[in-house]
Amino acid sequence: MNIGAPRESRLLVYSTALIALMISVLPLPQYLAIVRPPLLVLIILYWSTMTPRAGGILLGFLGGIALDVLQGSQLGQHALALSFVTYLAVRLHLLTRAKPIFEQSLFVLVALLLYETVLWAIDGWSGHPMNSPTRWVPAFTGALIWPVIVGVLGRTHSQR
């Protein structure tokens, strides 16, 4: 069991997060960009659930800052939202990771909706309101691909 071994998994955690970050800012045609799942958030949720020591809130904060810089949003907006859902994932990781995969998807859906709500609220408060219903679509596609994330990342580290 090397799930809890931070040094080995930390490299894995940060490299997968970097790949996810690049996919999240990849320029796509608009009809694809609308349904693009928030891959970085999913990966950070996964690692915060599986190895809260290697993942955790620092990773959430750093990932959020990177999203803010790359997407040109207000510095701290994604950082706040992402550290919030990461905190929830770390807090509840003993509860959620024992659940079957479809129940996990429901947790993920709630987490992604909370994430988007925080972003939406900050958008509104800072005077850039963005109320189009399409902004909620990625939360659902994200919950749908959660089993894939678990399947792929589950193979990268040993678990029984």
Binding site: P52, L75, S83
Partner: protein, 318 residues
């Protein structure tokens, strides 16, 4: 595959600080960042370096696209190159004819203004930049380009392409900058109609093919096909650059303003190269300087220095 079992590291969360404390710390840090970012202060320096750090990622992400366009250029056929060459020659001939006429007009204009010598050129410096990545969605219409402060780009510099006004720089990093397009919802250009000089503001609609003019009265003299150029007000863009063509007007008698739509002249979605322009402030068409227009003194409250000063002393000083 799907079962994630076992409470492996039960004690993992409480190593040196609890998750609640960490979250509080990062939440406060984020909020502080947002507060200062909104007010545009020292955090822009932090952002400058972060943008420099992010540039390799942006470059890597856009590399498949760059590779594709490079490859399609490499394998272009002889025939298509030939036709393109002919078209370019024709266009060059037309443009040189037009510029001959333009020089004559410029001289005439200078004479009419009774200037000793011909006017200085309006554009003092141009900088060609390549588009690194494109973001065109309803909430953000932005381009990322490969020129930054090291190349002489500066904030709120005007950006044009071969056909018209494109936008201005909002964020400048050392090697890259971000352009806010005129079609972004948060962007407005002061414009005037070429036909009758009617002034207004063209706001972005969040759609790369459309601008809205929401402040024209119902009875104003606008027609479809009218060309809008920059009016030179506002201190960012110089006067006389083409912006858009009016495409449709809806006059609802209930409303006080007409709903006017326009199509930008610049090819916002297809540009690979854009031009950053700097202007000679001595030229009459150059944008007015902000410092001169905003002549109100800063408002100071609650301090001795803000107390009214005796009037006679001031007059004596003048």
């Amino acid at each position: 595959m799907a079962f994630i079992g076992g409470n492996v590291n039960r004690h993992s969360s409480g190593r040196d600080s609890s998750p609640g404390f960490r979250f509080l710390l990062f939440a406060i840090l984020s909020i502080v960042c947002m507060y200062y970012d909104q007010r545009d202060s020292w955090i822009s320096n932090v952002r400058y370096y972060l943008q420099a750090a992010a540039y390799p990622i942006q470059g890597a992400v856009s590399s498949p696209q760059t590779l594709f366009s490079w490859a399609s250029e490499m394998f272009e056929t002889r025939a298509s190159l030939r036709t393109e060459n002919e078209q370019l020659k024709k266009r060059e001939r037309e443009l040189s004819l037009a510029s001959m006429r333009y020089e004559a007009l410029e001289r005439e204009n200078a004479r009419l203004r009774a200037l000793e010598e011909a006017m200085p050129p309006l554009v003092s410096k141009t900088l060609i930049a390549e588009v690194v990545s494109v973001e065109l969605n309803p909430s953000r219409q932005r381009l990322l380009i490969n020129k930054g402060a090291r190349d002489g780009a500066f904030r709120s510099q005007a950006v044009v392409d071969a056909r018209g006004l494109l936008g201005q720089l909002v964020r400048v990093g050392p090697w890259s900058s971000e352009i806010i397009l005129i079609t972004d919802r948060e962007h407005g250009v002061p414009v005037e109609l070429v036909r009758n000089g009617l002034r207004s503001i063209a706001n972005g609609a969040g759609d790369s093919g459309e601008l809205l003019l929401p402040y024209l009265p119902v009875n104003s003299d606008v027609k479809a096909g009218d060309v809008l150029v920059t009016s030179g007000l506002g201190g960012v863009f110089p006067a006389g650059y083409p912006v858009a063509v009016v495409t449709g007007i809806k006059r609802d008698p209930v409303l006080l303003v007409a709903q006017v739509r326009a199509r930008p002249l610049a090819t916002l979605t297809r540009d690979r190269e854009v031009v950053l322009v700097s202007f000679d402030p001595k030229h009459p068409a150059a944008p007015g300087r902000r410092e001169q227009t905003d002549s109100l003194p800063p408002l100071v409250t609650g301090s001795q220095s803000a107390a009214p000063k005796p009037a006679p002393k001031r007059e004596a000083a003048d």
